[in-house]
């Protein structure tokens, strides 16, 4: 088991290295001079030269890459062109807000996403099934920010239950944090929930046709027990794969949601960096998000052993 985990961890190294190369090359795949774009329309020749120097674009490519990589390995993501601070500084300040929000979506989504859906699977064409699936497909079709604005309109404007925008750290005030995070968490969770609901339903329908489910019913187990212990547990492998891959959706959603709710997280940082074409920050954010994504999916791969004892490492 441990040997397997270590093997898998090592196997992610080439993937991450390739991601790093991609992210590095992004700056060089540009059809025009990145320094000119970063400098803006009104930059003088001198300013462009300065930026080119700052980015190290005057060196030969391999030198630039080794330089960038050695900095990266030491945890140095470069210097923000806009603020002049190391990229890791705004990162850390922002990361707090972000992980809080992410963690909440997880808590939020997983309860409604799972066992209840089993029931909907059983009565395959029941009206609840139709209603839930229509809702799920719809959750898929509405852009995250429209959901966000609708929730602000309903929850803050009409009902006055939640603040419109802003963010309070959980360290400063727990109720303040909860009231600020509820709407963004619901917003971001909607798409994710739709995704997981669809997958859960499809796999459950598959599993419910299996012989062991019939056997479980035949020996007189309660429906709930059959659904949760026998069917859902067997359906968990594909479902957790979806949960892992869906994180990419969450990451994209975070970027948009945080700008709707004015939350100072990594997503907001990304948007600001895009607007200022602050390339080192963009590169840093992509790297951080991608590595998190890869590691999360690795964790999920390893978790399969919990659901399926036939999988041995």
């Amino acid at each position: 088991m441990y040997a397997y985990i270590i093997r898998r961890l090592i196997a992610t190294i080439p993937t991450m290295a390739l991601v790093a190369v991609f992210v590095f090359l992004l700056l060089h795949l540009s059809p025009s001079d990145p320094a000119a774009i970063i400098a803006g329309d009104f930059a003088t020749e001198e300013q462009i030269l300065k930026i080119r120097e700052q980015l190290g674009l005057t060196d030969p490519l391999y030198l630039q890459f080794t330089h960038w990589l050695s900095n990266l390995l030491r945890g140095n993501l470069g210097t923000s062109i806009y603020s002049g601070l190391p990229v890791t500084t705004p990162d850390r300040a922002a990361a707090g807000a972000d992980t809080d929000a992410d963690a909440l979506h997880y808590g939020d989504r997983h309860q409604p996403g799972d066992p209840a859906r089993g029931h909907r699977g059983v009565e395959s064409r029941h009206w609840i099934d139709r209603a839930v699936m229509t809702l799920a497909v719809f959750g898929f079709s509405v852009p995250v920010f429209v959901i966000g604005y609708l929730l602000i309109l309903g929850g803050s404007r009409m009902l006055g239950w939640f603040p419109v925008q802003g963010y309070t750290s959980i360290l400063d005030s727990v109720p303040g944090f909860l009231s600020h995070i509820t709407l963004p968490a619901l917003t971001l969770g909607a798409v994710y929930m739709a995704l997981i609901a669809r997958m859960t339903r499809a796999t459950m329908l598959d599993v419910l046709n299996e012989d062991y489910v019939r056997t479980a019913y035949a020996k007189g187990l309660a429906t709930r027990k059959v659904l949760v212990k026998h069917a859902l547990k067997n359906a968990m492998v594909p479902i957790s794969t979806t949960i892992g891959l869906g994180v990419a959706l969450l990451i994209g959603g975070v970027v948009v949601t945080e700008s709707v709710f004015a939350i100072p997280g990594l997503g907001r940082l990304t948007v600001d960096a895009v607007l200022r074409t602050d390339y080192p920050v963009i590169q840093g954010v992509i790297l951080v998000f991608s590595f998190t994504y890869v590691l999360l999916n690795l964790l999920i791969d390893i978790s399969y052993v919990l659901f399926d004892p036939r999988i041995r490492y």
């Binding site: 080439p14 993937t15 991450m16 390739l18 991601v19 190369v21 991609f22 992210v23 992004l26 700056l27 795949l29 540009s30 059809p31 025009s32 990145p34 774009i37 395959s124 699936m133 497909v137 719809f138 898929f140 079709s141 509405v142 852009p143 995250v144 920010f145 429209v146 604005y149 609708l150 602000i152 309109l153 404007r157 669809r198 339903r201 499809a202 329908l205 994180v247 990419a248 990451i251 994209g252 970027v255 948009v256 700008s259 709707v260 990304t270 948007v271 960096a273 895009v274 607007l275 074409t277 390339y279 963009i282 590169q283 954010v285 992509i286 998000f289 991608s290 994504y293 890869v294």
Partner: protein, 238 residues
């Protein structure tokens, strides 16, 4: 399309079906015009990523030697969350409709490649393909005549989903300021521009939002229907 500052943020009326935006432009005609741009983006992304993905997938699935290299590259590309990659690309290339299309296409390619490759791997050991190899048929001919037709049904389904997703992602890109340029209305950037005025005039986000949602919903449902009719195993599911 004409700006008329005096009529800005008007409520819906007979003259302006959805009311007007913050520059007094008719929201209805902007939404219709935006639909054109959003659909062009969606369809082009679907078409381009299918063509590229199909080509790479066919080659990768059939030629063992370069397969490993291509798949590692695709894995790496897939581990960058697609919206982030698209945002970064547009931020670098500058905002224009072709750039948005290209930036949304690149992250989709690996997903198509995986799909095509899995079909190719399954077919490669089929008797009729083995027979074709034994007859000395050239590799490109085998790929095109014997394998390509079998990849089409799942690809069409995948393409509809990509199209739906691209319409949404275009809106995300516009929303964070890395989408279509302001002078070309798309559903995304109408909403992005209007968000400051949301509380004065809810329709500025709701109307394009509703159009977008219905369109994506329709494309997704179409995709589901296609899948059910093209793949008998998947019938009466999701």
């Amino acid at each position: 399309m004409q700006q008329s500052p005096r009529d800005r943020l008007q409520a819906p009326s007979a003259a302006a079906l959805f009311g007007t935006d913050m520059y007094g432009r008719d929201l209805f005609s902007r939404v219709l015009h935006g639909g054109q741009v959003s659909l062009v983006v969606g369809l082009s992304v679907a078409a381009l990523s299918t063509v590229f993905g199909l080509t790479i997938g066919l080659v990768s699935g059939f030629m063992r030697r370069i397969d490993a290299v291509i798949m590692r590259l695709m894995d790496a590309l897939m581990s960058i969350p697609s919206i982030l990659l698209a945002i970064a690309l547009v931020a670098l290339w500058g905002s224009s409709v072709p750039n948005v299309i290209l930036a949304l296409t690149i992250p989709e390619i690996p997903r198509v490649v995986r799909l095509v490759r899995s079909v190719v791997l399954m077919l490669r050991d089929q008797l009729y393909v083995q027979a074709a190899i034994a007859c000395g048929t050239s590799t490109p001919r085998i790929l095109v005549r014997h394998i390509l037709p079998n990849t089409i049904p799942p690809l069409i389904v995948q393409a509809t989903y990509i199209c739906a997703q691209a319409v949404i992602f275009e809106a995300y890109l516009s929303f964070v300021g890395a989408g279509t340029p302001p002078e070309i209305p798309s559903w995304g950037n109408i909403m992005a521009e209007g968000r400051m005025f949301f509380f004065q005039s809810v329709g500025i986000i709701l109307y394009p939002g509703a159009f977008l949602a219905l369109t994506v919903f329709a494309i997704n449902t179409f995709g589901d229907g296609l899948r059910d009719s093209l793949d008998p195993r998947m019938q009466r599911r999701v």
